[in-house]
């Protein structure tokens, strides 16, 4: 070994080599399908169902231990009431009334949001107007507008539609505007490159490109609208002639029929779940998930 005067580390010269590839069959299959049991455990739906069943069991046990149907009815009693009211049509009738109002309000809210964002996209002033309006009205709970709505439109569907529009409009408009602003410059340019302008440019480039954000807005808008509707029905369900699901809950509370209150709440949750995890989920799977945009 010779002494190294510099600070460089001593490097031993090593021979080059080439070898044939080692046999890897001992490692077993490079890829093997999971067993049925492994797949069932990994399935998200199965996991969520298990959690749900566990919660129901807890509910039933606690209610039986408490043994006070007025405060906390059991799961089985709630289900009996639920089944009875489905069978005699009351619950279905109430739900349909609520959903009809909701659909009108939601559709009008989304349509108005489309008009607002179109103006916002068309000009810088429009954009600032929308930003300001959204900043003002988005934090305002829709239910706080209900007294005003009652003064303007009286008791009935128009007042409900008014507050639903308020709860949908700003959430959808804000998200759509954010989505449009986030469309990459190169994507915009490649759209304009093939001569797209105006409505075709918005429809063929901006809306699909901003779709993840628009869809998020629609989901938030739906959740706001549904909550607002049920709450609003509870507030003036007293004098409405044909009530919705909120009215159903309110009526049951007046009769101290807690099992029916529970079955009403269960309906609200069920509809929320169906819209969220069936309708919106289906849209997501066919769009943003397929396109890898989320």
């Amino acid at each position: 070994m010779n002494a190294h005067p510099s600070k460089e580390p001593a490097r031993v010269s090593r021979p080059e080599f080439e070898v044939p590839l080692a046999d890897a069959t001992a490692a077993g299959d490079v890829e093997r399908p999971l067993t049925v049991a492994e797949r069932i455990i990994n399935n998200e739906a199965v996991q969520r169902l298990t959690i749900l069943v566990a919660l129901i069991v807890l509910w039933e046990l606690y209610a039986r231990w408490l043994n006070n149907g007025l405060l906390f009815p059991t799961f089985s009693e709630t289900m009996r009431t639920f089944a009875k009211d489905i069978a005699n049509g009351v619950l279905i009738d109430r739900t349909v009334t609520s959903l009809r109002t909701l659909t009108i309000g939601y559709a009008l809210g989304v349509a108005l949001a489309a008009v607002f964002t179109t103006f916002a996209v068309a000009s810088g002033v429009g954009s600032r107007v929308l930003s300001t309006l959204t900043a003002m009205f988005n934090p305002l709970p829709a239910i706080a507008l209900l007294p005003l709505a009652l003064i303007w439109f009286g008791l009935g569907t128009p007042s409900l539609v008014f507050v639903i529009i308020h709860s949908v409009l700003w959430a959808v408009a804000l998200n759509t505007l954010i989505g449009f602003r986030g469309v990459p410059e190169t994507l915009r340019m490649s759209g304009r490159n093939v001569g797209l302008k105006g409505a075709r440019y918005v429809g063929l480039i901006l809306i699909p490109a901003a779709f993840p954000s628009i869809l998020a807005g629609l989901k938030i808008g739906w959740a706001f609208a549904w909550r607002t509707l049920v709450a609003a029905e509870l507030v003036f369900g007293v004098s409405a002639r044909s009530g919705g699901i909120g009215w159903y809950i309110f009526e049951a509370r007046n009769d101290l029929d807690t099992a029916t209150v529970f079955s009403g709440l269960l309906t609200v949750i069920l509809i929320g779940l169906i819209v969220e995890s069936v309708i919106f989920r289906a849209i997501e799977v066919r769009t943003v998930n397929l396109w890898g945009m989320q």
């Binding site: 990459p184 190169t186 994507l187 340019m189 490649s190 304009r192 490159n193 093939v194 001569g195 797209l196 075709r200 063929l204 480039i205 699909p208 490109a209 779709f211 769009t287 397929l290 396109w291 890898g292 945009m293």
Partner: protein, 264 residues
Amino acid sequence: MTSALLEVNGVTLQYKTPRHLVTAIYRVDFSVHQGDRYVILGPSGCGKSTLLKAIGGFMRPAEGSIRIHGREVTSPGPDRMMVFQEFEQLMPWKSVYQNVLFPMKVTRKFASREAAVRADAIVDKVGLTKFRDVYPHMLSGGMKMRVAIARAMALEPDIFLMDEPFAALDALTRHAMQEELLSLWNQLGFTVLFVTHSIEEAIIIGSRILVLSAHPGRVRAELDADSLDHKSIGAPEFGILSSRIHTLLFGEPHALYTREEARA
């Protein structure tokens, strides 16, 4: 001089940032002829991308004129298809095939039956038949770039405007894409205006190279590189040309090759 396909005369380009008015390109002249592989080469920030955008019709020159077939460029149009460096240029909500079909559909340049046949043929030409119905997020960078090129090619534009299209690719893929572009050019003989900051890429791709100076971009030289490609990388001519370009860009001015002294 025969009439050129693209004529850029005394073009100055300026754009505004929130605080400044920036002059990106100053009084640039050049012309691109049919079948050219015309490369614009310059250091980063010399305004070459801005110049390409102006030719694409996305911004108007502050002075001078840009003409395609003698017509003044005023707005973006499908006669000048752009290929960008960013992969975002593809529409993520359309499959490979639909992305290629889209420009033909919206411009109505081809009947719908013909457009469908052409789209399939072009997808096949760039070797993506197996990925025809796949969405862009499933593709590698090189494949995305092939789709972007196929999409532009399907429309048969007068000229391709390519803005550093291979800059975001890894070295091996970039090499493969350069060869593919040259082989497509050999088969189809289109006209391409190619922007790059790589001297090597400029020599490999280009038949003519326009060398721009640093900010603001001014013409430094126009060189011929028709005979050089990948195979000549080790050849002396290649090295001589690269070092000549290098001197033009970074060293002392080389009087013999200066076309016009900048009036700065």
